[in-house]
Amino acid sequence: MTDEELRVSKIENGTVIDHIPGSQALNVLAILGIDGTGGETVSIGMNVPSDRLGRKDVVKVEDRELSQSEVDVLSLIAPAATINIIRGFEVVEKHRVERPETVTGVLQCSNKHCITAEDEPVDSRFEVLDDGVRCVYCDSITRENIAAELLI
């Protein structure tokens, strides 16, 4: 574990999500569906100094591993994140998030005139670009503040 990760306590079993862009930790928790009511033990480091990101956030969730769909969505707001699976206080797996080609049903379109903003029986669907997402229906590109469009 790095010094930064030690700013908050070590965990025995669970997941450490590191290299989240500064101030995005709460959005990461939202993606994981964690609002505190589920009883999970969660530790957060926010705006920790980082060589790579300047400031980064770190999230540690005990007794929880991430699903692929959670990782896909996570990649949109934290493309440089690393995911460490911890068992018995040791990192047993470490991998970077990979951006999927498309995401379905997890973001709303930032274009208020998009058909997906109407009451239609379709899930939102986005093509994932290098630096944003693009609605497959109205073609709008969202780059800034993707977290604000999360549906989960």
Binding site: N111, P121, C138, S140
Partner: protein, 304 residues
Amino acid sequence: MRHDHITSAKQLSRADIEGVLDRASEIAADPSAYADRHEDALLGLMFFEPSTRTKMSFSAAMKRLGGDIVDMGPVDSSSVKKGESLADTVRVVEGYADALVMRHPSEGSAQMASEFVDVPLINAGDGAGQHPTQTLLDLYTIRENAGLDDLTIGIMGDLKYGRTVHSLAYALTNFETRQHFISPESLQLPRNVRYDLHEQGSSIKEHTELDGILPSLDVLYVTRIQKERFPDEDEYQKVAGQYQIDSELLENTKDSLTVMHPLPRVDEIAHDVDDTDHAAYFEQAHNGVPVRMALLDALLGGDR
């Protein structure tokens, strides 16, 4: 043409475009040869927004191919008024027609609707999104007047919300064109169109004034700047006045300059331009019929 639906100019390759334009040329040269081409075909018209030219030219095109139309009529008198979803409406209407033409105020509506139907669906305008059949008749008009390769075109007016601009700019990337975009800063090309043109490696230049580039243009494509895009009338008058052309302005252009406009115009092209050799906008509007005949023929499976 291999497409089931025509929702965006982005799906049209150079070969697709040339195929439609060639067929349109054949039709224009001898319309009677196509008069009974699709005798039993019915075209469903679904216009959720008002339309004159597009709707009438699709109707004329279908009838000149020997077919007929069924029209949803104005939204006020339709089931949409009762709160029916677009997805439901198109699934019902596809049972009444062999192909559908749809205009809808929401961007992406045509793409979504196409996912719910099996008959060919043609986008006749989705909000500020796309208007691919206007683009085909624009390209036909450009080809007839100036040729589509080694072309310098200026596209002027409301580039942000103008769906005809979005479709045309993309389609032109299939050809050897230099595109100049002239607009007030507040109405420049939207991010997604800019992104696509960049991805296509297109050479685009953006200007806030027409003066400097007018003499270099082969085609000037003018679009309407709408009042409602501006916070107040004064601001609109100030800006819109800079993007109006008249015959005096056109004295400093190439003799062969072709002036186009998707119509309706308000005052962005003065009436004294109509009588000059530059004016091609009425011809452009008339070209909607053979071009839409060609497109319908292709989509309805007309043999070549």
